[in-house]
């Protein structure tokens, strides 16, 4: 209620402030430079002016106060343009705090992708493919040149001429083997007589093959697999096994016999290997897919067969012959290697799930057929068994039913297939309805969104509290700056160094707001806000006491209850922090001390590098983690629709419900962000809250769920690892019930605002009645 009118002015103000403060990193680092060089003695504040603290100036994002010593954390002072460019490049990711070594983990969320080397497309590939094409087309023309000659002279393509006229004396049988006379070159079939030969030539099968041979019709090749081709029979197989079984098959044997009879050279039983169309397609020559694939006949593990029988013709290629000869000596480098790799993959593809194939025997014990229990299919050929076990369908079934971890290549969509065949696509349909339903329930009843907003307004801190927070935090920040200066001065006099040269020796490096304060998640019920004090050396007990005393000396009184109240400090050694309070004010500010040193050194040897009286390492590491979490949060959450609201509501939930209290702040924030970011649409507050409950309901937190990967840690860790199974169970249970409560119009129960809403409802009803009365009165007047 209060907050929003403030926001408008805040918005304008914030924009201006941010413009001044140069929120983005490059500008920030520039300012740092300027600050360090020209305003060296002055205290530099990212936010600039605090004088107008009467405004609502709550929790400016990334409110890191930088001391002049900040630049020592920069990689290099910028000396020449090149170095400057480098410096900027390094400073791009996270905003103001990028320079701290410990903030490196955060850096990956920033826009650092610019550092990626550009993808390697370009010269090498282009060159290789050109060479390849040249070589293969040379081979092709060499092969087809002969064929062409032979064919063009004698017959129309694909067909032997009619047999020479037989002698009239009737000894026609002696003129030559009849098989050769009525032999169809295209189909590798010999016919018994002219009649059948003619019929064959008119037949569909022949025409199809003819079309295939002349390149009009394209065979679909697997896109990412090597094909094996039997040139004799003009058969393309998708695997070594199916090729082998083709070679063993009767059709092939017949073709071989016929060829032998005709005295033609029979190619060896070794396949021509055709690289996948994907690779063929990647070539520079804009040739049709099939043609390219055919031409790219390459070496294989089995043999290097130059496809003599490939019959693609190309008149222009003859001309190129000369230059291609020259190129051919270079050899096809890359394609071969790729094909080789694919071949190896093909070879290494082991048959799987053999135990699921049963052989069925007849009563004599002879195997009559095999039955694959996984795929529910039968086959009689033992060869087919191997092929089946390596086949895609079988592998897919194996994956679905037995072992989910095996890889099955994805079937390409039917678009890449022959377009002339009109295959009706399977009825793919939208999984979710795209029509809305009549909202059930009373129309005047408040929706979930407004209930959520009501609750949100109830837990949101009031203006007075926000102003107090701002005052105390700003005063502490200023005080810390003075403390830092004083400590530096002492150090300089002690070491007899000029003050302006002593900047590197500064112990207190900076202060940054963390947790709810920086994330703008402070609630009405909060009693503590936190800032982290970064030091150049590992913080010790002595330092803590010293700083604590100096703060009391330097910190200006904070206005509370209408008059300025001096601050008091309380040292909490075990917490590695100083608690600052102002009079009787309920809200206190915690200053946690830490140093990047804590994370740089090995925690296992803490005893070795720990200075005397060092503060607990665990607390120091935690403070550093808080800085990282804050950076991450500021980069991700404010831009996500409804995210902040849901975060605040969940903070409230954690305070109210015991089952939820166990979730720590960071994992909750991470969870909410992930869940909302995974939504495709921008969500209203009510929907966003429902989605969070949905996600937990379906077992996100449970042991068999995916877990939450912590983005702010070097190692891959799960942010939920600290939860026990029973705790996970309890939270899930609670969320599941809450989800159904929301659905069944009991959002108030979930939010814990039944009484408030009942009152508001009565209030509204009264207003409505009044309005109606007014309307009635007006009518009467008329």
């Amino acid at each position: 209620m209060y907050g929003y009118d403030q926001y408008a002015s805040y918005g304008a103000q914030a924009t201006q402030a941010m413009a001044n403060a140069a929120y983005n990193a490059a500008a920030a680092s520039q300012q740092m430079q300027q600050a360090a060089q020209f305003q060296a003695p002055n205290f530099v504040s990212v936010l600039g002016d605090y004088s107008g603290a009467a405004h609502y100036n709550y929790a400016p994002p990334a409110a890191t106060l930088q001391y002049q010593g900040y630049q020592t954390y920069q990689p290099q002072p910028f000396q020449n343009p090149l170095a400057q460019a480098q410096g900027f490049a390094q400073a791009t990711g996270p905003p103001a705090l990028a320079a701290y070594a410990n903030a490196q983990a955060v850096a990956k969320f920033g826009a650092t992708t610019a550092h990626k080397p550009p993808p390697q497309l370009g010269q090498p590939n282009f060159f290789e493919s050109t060479v390849n094409t040249a070589v293969t087309s040379y081979l092709q023309s060499k092969a087809t040149g002969q064929t062409n000659q032979w064919m063009n002279k004698k017959n129309p393509p694909g067909m032997k001429p009619m047999p020479p006229k037989s002698r009239f004396n009737g000894t026609s049988g002696n003129t030559g083997p009849p098989a050769q006379q009525f032999y169809c070159e295209t189909c590798k079939i010999s016919c018994a007589g002219p009649q059948t030969f003619k019929e064959h030539n008119d037949g569909q099968k022949h025409k199809k093959k003819l079309a295939l041979a002349s390149g009009e019709d394209k065979v679909t090749l697997p896109r990412n697999k090597v094909s094996f081709r039997c040139d004799l029979c003009n058969v393309t197989c998708t695997g070594q096994d199916s090729y082998n079984s083709h070679i063993k098959g009767s059709k092939h044997q017949k073709a071989v016999q016929t060829c032998k009879k005709m005295g033609k050279v029979v190619p060896q039983d070794q396949p021509t290997i055709i690289p996948p169309s994907q690779m063929g397609g990647a070539k520079a020559v804009p040739a049709p897919e099939q043609a390219t694939a055919k031409k790219a006949v390459a070496a294989s593990a089995i043999s290097f067969v130059q496809s003599g029988a490939l019959s693609t013709t190309g008149a222009a290629e003859d001309k190129k012959k000369a230059c291609e000869e020259a190129v051919s000596s270079a050899g096809p480098p890359a394609l071969d290697r790729e094909v080789q790799a694919l071949l190896d993959a093909e070879q290494s593809l082991k048959p799987i799930g053999e135990e699921f194939v049963e052989d069925q025997r007849d009563h004599t014990g002879k195997v009559i057929q095999f039955l694959c229990k996984l795929c529910d299919c039968k086959f009689s050929d033992p060869n087919a068994k191997d092929i089946h076990l390596k086949g895609r369908r079988h592998r897919l079934q194996y994956k679905v039913k037995v072992n989910p971890s095996i890889e099955v290549d994805i079937k390409m969509n039917p678009k890449s297939k022959n377009k002339s065949v009109n295959v009706l696509p399977r009825a793919v349909h939208m999984p979710y309805t795209n029509y809305t339903f009549q909202p059930y329930g009373d129309k005047t009843e408040c929706t979930d969104d407004s209930l959520v907003m009501t609750k949100h307004n109830l837990i949101y801190p009031d203006e007075e509290m926000l102003r107090f927070i701002e005052h105390i935090v700003v005063n502490i920040e200023k005080a810390l700056k003075n403390v830092s200066d004083e400590l530096l001065e002492r150090l300089a006099t002690k070491n007899k160094v000029e003050l302006k040269d002593a900047n590197d020796m500064r112990t207190l490096k900076g202060v940054t707001r963390v947790t709810a304060l920086a994330k703008q998640l402070v609630l009405k019920e909060d009693r503590e806000v936190e800032v982290v004090l970064l030091m150049s050396t590992y913080p010790t007990e002595v330092m803590l006491r010293e700083v604590s005393e100096l703060i009391q000396k330097h910190c200006q009184p904070v206005p509370f209850g209408g008059q300025p109240v001096p601050v008091k400090t309380e040292n909490q050694i075990s917490q590695a922090s100083i608690l600052v309070s102002a009079g009787t004010a309920p809200l206190k500010c915690r200053i946690s001390m830490t140093s990047p040193v804590a994370r740089e050194n090995d925690p296992a040897n803490f005893a070795q590098w720990k200075p005397g009286g060092g503060l607990p390492l665990e607390k120091c590491l935690k403070s550093l983690a808080k800085i990282r979490h804050t950076k991450w949060f500021q980069a991700r959450c404010p831009n996500l629709q409804s995210c902040q609201i849901v975060q605040r509501l969940l903070r409230d939930l954690r305070i109210r419900l015991p089952a939820w209290a166990i979730l720590d702040e960071w994992s909750t924030e991470l969870l909410v962000e992930r869940v909302l970011a995974s939504s495709e649409a921008r969500l209203s507050p009510g929907n966003a809250l429902r989605r969070v409950f949905e996600a937990i309901s379906c077992g996100l937190l449970l042991k068999n769920g995916p877990g939450l990967e912590d983005p702010c840690e070097k190692e891959k860790t799960c942010a939920l690892a600290y939860l026990t199974s029973q705790q996970r169970e309890d939270i899930t249970c609670s969320a599941q019930h809450a989800l159904r409560l929301i659905v069944f119009k009991r959002m108030t129960t979930v939010l814990g605002i039944e009484d408030v809403v009942v009152a508001a409802g009565a209030d509204r009803k009264r207003h409505l009645e009044e309005d109606q009365d007014g309307a009635v009165k007006r009518e009467r007047k008329d």
Binding site: M18, V400, K401, A427, S678, L683, R691, E694, C698, G699
Partner: protein
């Protein structure tokens, strides 16, 4: 006061219809249809099957864009460039259409799996259980035998036109046997007979008797009974029941009379069964989905809360969960099984949810035949099952454990990594007093049917 103002309105005017205040969608959607008649359903059949729905996976519609100029309560929204906006709600969208429920598989980009979670074991368990639920060869043989005989009789009936004024347009087998999702021990066949003549109760009776006679002529021992859906033919010797489900052609729809003809709602159901069969043949025939469907059909018998889930909903949901993944790879059995339960637990069939689009009935999202109470118990059952499975209680869910405990009724204990975990069933959330006003359209129909 400001609060109550926020509650009562001052929303973007685009979000509401001025006259009745019903929310409408901002993006154009199909106009709301009047309840379907037989005629229109039939007219839509092929459109539905062949390209009525394309376009694959569809998430929720994009949210409305930034809402106009800032109102008095609108601080700069998150679309503003530069620093993150101040605390506050941002500009709330004018009206959010229902969103698809959270789905771990679609959101896998955001939640990287860090372990395999015993998927292999779960898959193996499911496959085992499914094979136990599958009828054996003998049983299948019986069913097939009865089917061929009945079909032959029907063909004879139609071709020879044995009863002059009872004409059959077409007949086809539907149901679980056809889809190969039948459970072991469930010896029942369904055949839909679409009649060209009016589906009078007497003529249906006559049809049944005649088919019975034809079957008896082949020395089968059978009994024929008239039922409200048509006829029931029992092959008493082998205990197989064949249901002749009567439907009629669209042209007869206007002439239907209550009491004289087979009830229209039943006939619509039978026609829907034909559509389901066609869809199944097209989309799911031969895929391992059928095993999963068996598992869920079996669970539906054992867990009271899953009862309201219709067989068709199970079939579609299972298929959806297996096929619709981010990379279009079929999901293995174990994860699919979990995903079905997760979707149910996340409330895909809860009121106000966007639901799943029924591919065979355009304006339906499976919700119309379930009451609120059933929705609640369905969801809470699935939620409990999700938790039970996560603690390793697969056997109890699948029904393979020796002790017969209904985990959705009694609390159960599990040992997880040496830690004792108790899983308690969930409370009801549905309160009839809060949901009394204006039920969805399907609710009254359901009530009337009861």
């Amino acid at each position: 006061m400001a609060i109550s103002k926020r509650l009562t309105g001052a929303r973007d005017p685009r979000g509401r219809l001025p006259d009745d205040g019903v929310f409408i969608r901002l993006d154009p959607v199909a106009p709301r249809q009047a309840p379907f008649t037989l005629l229109r359903r039939e007219g839509r059949l092929f459109e539905v099957m062949r390209g009525g729905y394309r376009g694959g996976f569809r998430g929720g519609p994009p949210g409305p864009g930034p809402v106009g100029p800032m109102g008095p309560m609108g601080p700069p929204g998150p679309h503003m460039a530069g620093p993150p906006g101040p605390p506050g709600p941002g500009a709330p969208p004018a009206f959010m259409p229902p969103q698809p429920p959270f789905d771990l598989v679609s959101a896998s980009d955001y939640f990287h799996k860090n372990n395999d979670n015993h998927e292999v074991e779960l898959t193996a368990e499911i496959v085992n259980r499914a094979s136990k639920l599958t009828p054996n060869e003998v049983e299948r043989g019986h069913l097939q035998n009865c089917l061929t005989r009945t079909m032959a009789a029907l063909q004879k009936f139609r071709n020879d036109n044995l009863v002059p004024d009872v004409l059959i347009e077409e007949y086809m087998e539907v149901g679980s046997h056809k889809k190969d999702t039948i459970l072991a021990g469930h010896k029942s066949l369904d055949i839909v007979v679409v009649m060209k003549s009016m589906p009078k109760i007497e003529s249906v009776h006559l049809l049944g008797q005649k088919v019975g006679e034809l079957l008896r002529a082949e020395k089968e021992i059978i009994s024929v009974q008239s039922r409200d859906f048509g006829c029931l033919i029992s092959f008493t010797s082998i205990g197989v029941r064949v249901n002749l489900l009567i439907a009629t052609i669209a042209a007869n729809a206007p002439k239907l009379e209550e009491g004289l003809h087979i009830p229209e709602p039943l006939m619509l159901k039978h026609l829907a069964a034909i559509r389901h069969i066609r869809w199944w043949e097209d989309a799911a025939a031969g895929s391992p989905v059928k095993d999963l469907v068996r598992i869920f059909k079996d669970m539906r018998v054992r867990f009271q809360g899953l009862k309201p889930l219709s067989v068709w909903a199970i079939e579609f949901l299972c298929h959806f969960c297996m096929v619709h993944t981010a990379n279009r790879q079929t999901l293995p059995m174990g994860p699919t099984f979990l995903r079905v339960l997760q979707l149910l637990a996340a409330g895909v069939f809860l009121p106000g949810s966007i639901g799943l689009a029924d591919p065979c009935d355009i304006p339906s999202n499976f919700l119309s035949n379930i009451t609120f109470e059933e929705m609640d118990s369905l969801c809470s059952t699935a939620q409990t099952l999700v938790r039970v499975i996560s603690h390793g209680g697969h056997a109890r869910v699948m029904g393979t454990s020796p002790e017969n405990i209904d985990v959705t009724v009694t609390p159960t204990y599990y040992m997880v990594d040496g830690e004792r975990v108790v899983v308690t069933p969930l409370d009801k959330a549905y309160d009839p007093t809060l949901m009394t006003t204006q039920k969805p359209a399907g609710q009254e129909a359901k009530a009337a049917a009861h």
